[in-house]
Subunit: 222 residues, 2 copies
């Protein structure tokens, strides 16, 4: 049996109500990255203002003792990925993020680093969506058109971050999240969807996946 080196920390949401940026998962990030990693490569493409976003992320990681480089500041983004010790892809708009990953030809580069070199990958919200098979189960608005919905495929299923249980008291008639995922499974050959509530994290080590946090998750199967 081949050993897969994959190490992923997939976070549902960057900010929990009432807390600061990444505050609710700082300890998980620290024990995930450990002491060997010195610098993290940040991917800010999901938000429009990349400078401001990198500044926010830098503050959070520096407070944990890690340096942070943002890939948007690199002359050659593919090169920056190839030299990285760890990758963190932040949240925002998933369509915008995935389109930028394609435009900059980063999909194969990131896959190689995770699967072959075994560097740790952290994703939050949109960064969690793009780690999966596809972004078919994002909650985001399709503000741009990526060349495909296929994503990094670091895990063999989809995730729905920010999962919200149906609100029986709601008078809004838009589909619930449950209905939306069920509609996805009406389509042929669709993978399972792990619905991660806010506060939830998925730790993936090789072929083992562990749910962290106290809010739990739901697994939808076709």
């Amino acid at each position: 049996m081949m050993t897969i080196k994959r190490r992923l920390l997939l976070i549902s949401n960057s900010t929990l109500h009432g807390g600061g940026y990444l505050e609710h998962c700082k300890q998980h990030i620290q024990s995930f990255l450990g002491a060997e990693v010195k610098r993290v490569l940040f991917v800010p493409y999901a938000l429009h203002d990349r400078d401001a976003y990198a500044k926010t992320a830098r503050q959070a990681f520096e407070s944990l003792g890690y340096g942070l480089d943002s890939v948007h500041e690199a002359e050659n983004p593919v090169d920056a990925v190839q030299k990285s010790q760890a990758i963190f892809i932040g949240g925002g708009n998933t369509f915008r993020l995935l389109k930028a990953l394609y435009d900059k030809n980063l999909i194969p580069a990131i896959r190689k680093k995770v699967f072959e070199d075994g560097i740790p990958y952290i994703g939050s919200s949109a960064g969690t969506n793009v780690a999966t098979i596809s972004i078919n189960t994002t909650n985001d608005m399709p503000i741009v058109y990526p060349p495909s919905l296929q994503a990094l495929g670091l895990v063999p299923f989809n995730i729905n971050p920010h999962y919200l249980d149906p609100d029986v008291n709601s008078k809004h008639m838009g589909e619930t999240r449950e209905q939306r995922i069920t509609q996805y499974h009406e389509e042929q050959d669709t993978p399972s969807v792990l619905a991660l509530r806010e506060g939830g994290l998925l730790l993936v080590e090789g072929d083992k996946a562990t749910l962290l946090g106290i809010t739990g998750a739901r697994l939808f199967q076709r």
Copy 2:
């Protein structure tokens, strides 16, 4: 000045909380279609079970005195559009709907009927989204990948149906609808977005647009 024949009734939502299918807008539909139209061509592609959906729509239109044919029952959908007296595209998943319109080559056929022949077009929810420039401002999950997000372009702006005002008491950290539309406008050359609250309808006659219903709308401009 060229006169545009366009006549559209764009509905935010098919069902209002506590009411039946199309119940809240039956009178608007009746005065919009008038007495000349005898049969309506229904487009059920936004939902998976097309037979059941056509049955629901047929009951609603027959109760108003109109016959209803569903395009999914036609041998040749383009031909059915060409022969139609009026078109109604129902709600569901906007990505699934738009993909089917492309797959069946109905985009040019419907545009021609509306712009050149001046037949009345009714859209509800996803059917309203596809009537606009693009589906970039849909709320739906991208469960399938259409060949483009460009839509029928029957009006020169976008619509966000089922618009929800920000809830200041919410502890959920997903983006509000306002934030999502603002993210859309961070992208270049993006059109205005009319955010139609549930219960709202837009009547378009030639170059004139009238907001109907009592819930109102918000206009977002880049």
